[in-house]
C-alpha cells in the first residue's frame, strides 16, 4: 500500500512517526499525481487537496477496483479492501 497526499515530505515524516504508520506516504504538493488521477478538490480561498479515493492496481498496472466516496467522512473499510484484494488473481 502507498498513500498520496498534498502535504510535503517533512510533514508526512511527522505524521508517519506520530501515527506509527508503516506504509509509504508520497508527497504531492504540486498535485501532479492527484491531477493524473482526476482527484483535485478546489476549495474556496483554501489550498486545493485530493478528494479521498482508493484504487486497487493489479500486477499488470490495471485498475481493478476503485472507491471514490461521495462523502469524505466515509472511507472504505479494511475488511472490504481485503476482500477486494482476495478477488485479484
Amino acid at each position: 500500500m502507498v498513500a498520496v497526499v498534498v502535504d510535503p515530505v517533512e510533514r508526512n515524516a511527522e505524521v508517519a512517526d506520530e501515527l506509527a504508520l508503516d506504509y509509504r506516504i508520497l508527497a504531492d504538493p504540486e498535485l501532479k499525481v492527484i491531477d493524473a488521477y482526476g482527484l483535485r478538490h478546489e476549495r474556496d480561498g483554501d489550498t486545493p487537496i485530493a478528494r479521498p479515493a482508493t484504487f486497487l492496481i493489479d500486477a499488470q498496472g490495471v485498475v481493478r477496483w476503485r472507491e471514490l466516496t461521495d462523502n469524505y467522512r466515509l472511507r472504505p473499510h479494511p475488511e472490504e479492501i481485503l476482500a477486494r484484494i482476495d478477488e485479484l488473481p
Binding site: V2, D7, K32, A50, R64, Y72, R73
Partner: protein, 187 residues
C-alpha cells in the same frame, strides 16, 4: 353608609388614633407561601436551555474528539453517528422547551432569566444546525471524479517522494498488486 372622601379621612384618623393607643393590632402582611410545585416548574424552566446547550456541546465536542482519536475500532460510531445525533436531538428538544417557556406570556421568570434562556436556546439550535449541515451537507461537497481512471484502464504513471525523501515509481510495482490511497491531508 355612603363613602365620601371626608368620611374616609375621618375613618382613617380614627384608625390611626386607635392603633397608636394600642387598641387595634394589625397583623403584619405575609405573602401566602407558593406551592412547591410552582417553584419546581420555575427551576426547570431555567434548567432546560442550560441542559440543552450542554447536550449539544457534548454531542459536537464528543464527535470531533472521536475523530481526533483516529481509533479504527470506533470509526463505525463516526460513520453512523446515531449516538451523537441522539444526544443532539435531546438537546434540541430541551432548548425548544426552554425557549417556549421563556417566550410564553405569564410565568414568574424575570426578563433577565428569559433573555438568558433565549440566548442559550438559540445558541444550541445554531450549533445543532451547523453540526447537521457538516454531517449531511458539507462532507458531501466533493467534486465529481469524472477524470479518475476507470476500472480496467491502466493506472496513470507517476513518481513521488515518500516520507523519507525516497522516490517511489509506480512502474516499479509491476508484478505485484498495489493499493493506492489518496488522502485529503493537512493533518
Amino acid at each position: 353608609m355612603p363613602l365620601s372622601s371626608a368620611g374616609l379621612s375621618a375613618a382613617s384618623s380614627k384608625l390611626a388614633a386607635e392603633t397608636e393607643a394600642g387598641k387595634l393590632e394589625i397583623a403584619p402582611f405575609t405573602r401566602p407561601a407558593s406551592p412547591a410545585s410552582t417553584q419546581v416548574v420555575e427551576r426547570r424552566g431555567n434548567l432546560a436551555p442550560v441542559l440543552g446547550l450542554v447536550a449539544g456541546l457534548i454531542a459536537v465536542v464528543g464527535y470531533f474528539a472521536l475523530v481526533l482519536r483516529q481509533d479504527p475500532d470506533l470509526t463505525s460510531m463516526l460513520e453512523t453517528p446515531l449516538l451523537f445525533l441522539g444526544i443532539l436531538a435531546a438537546g434540541v428538544v430541551l432548548s425548544l422547551v426552554g425557549l417556549r417557556r421563556a417566550l410564553s406570556p405569564g410565568g414568574r421568570a424575570g426578563t433577565l432569566a428569559r433573555g438568558f434562556a433565549v440566548v442559550l436556546g438559540v445558541a444550541n439550535l445554531a450549533l445543532s444546525a451547523l453540526f447537521c449541515w457538516y454531517l449531511f451537507g458539507y462532507s458531501y461537497r466533493l467534486p465529481a471524479a469524472v477524470a479518475a481512471p476507470a476500472l480496467g484502464s491502466p493506472a496513470p504513471a507517476f513518481t513521488a517522494a515518500d516520507q523519507t525523501g525516497e522516490p517511489f515509481d509506480l512502474a516499479s510495482q509491476r508484478g505485484r498488486n498495489l493499493l493506492l490511497v489518496f488522502y485529503r491531508g493537512f493533518w
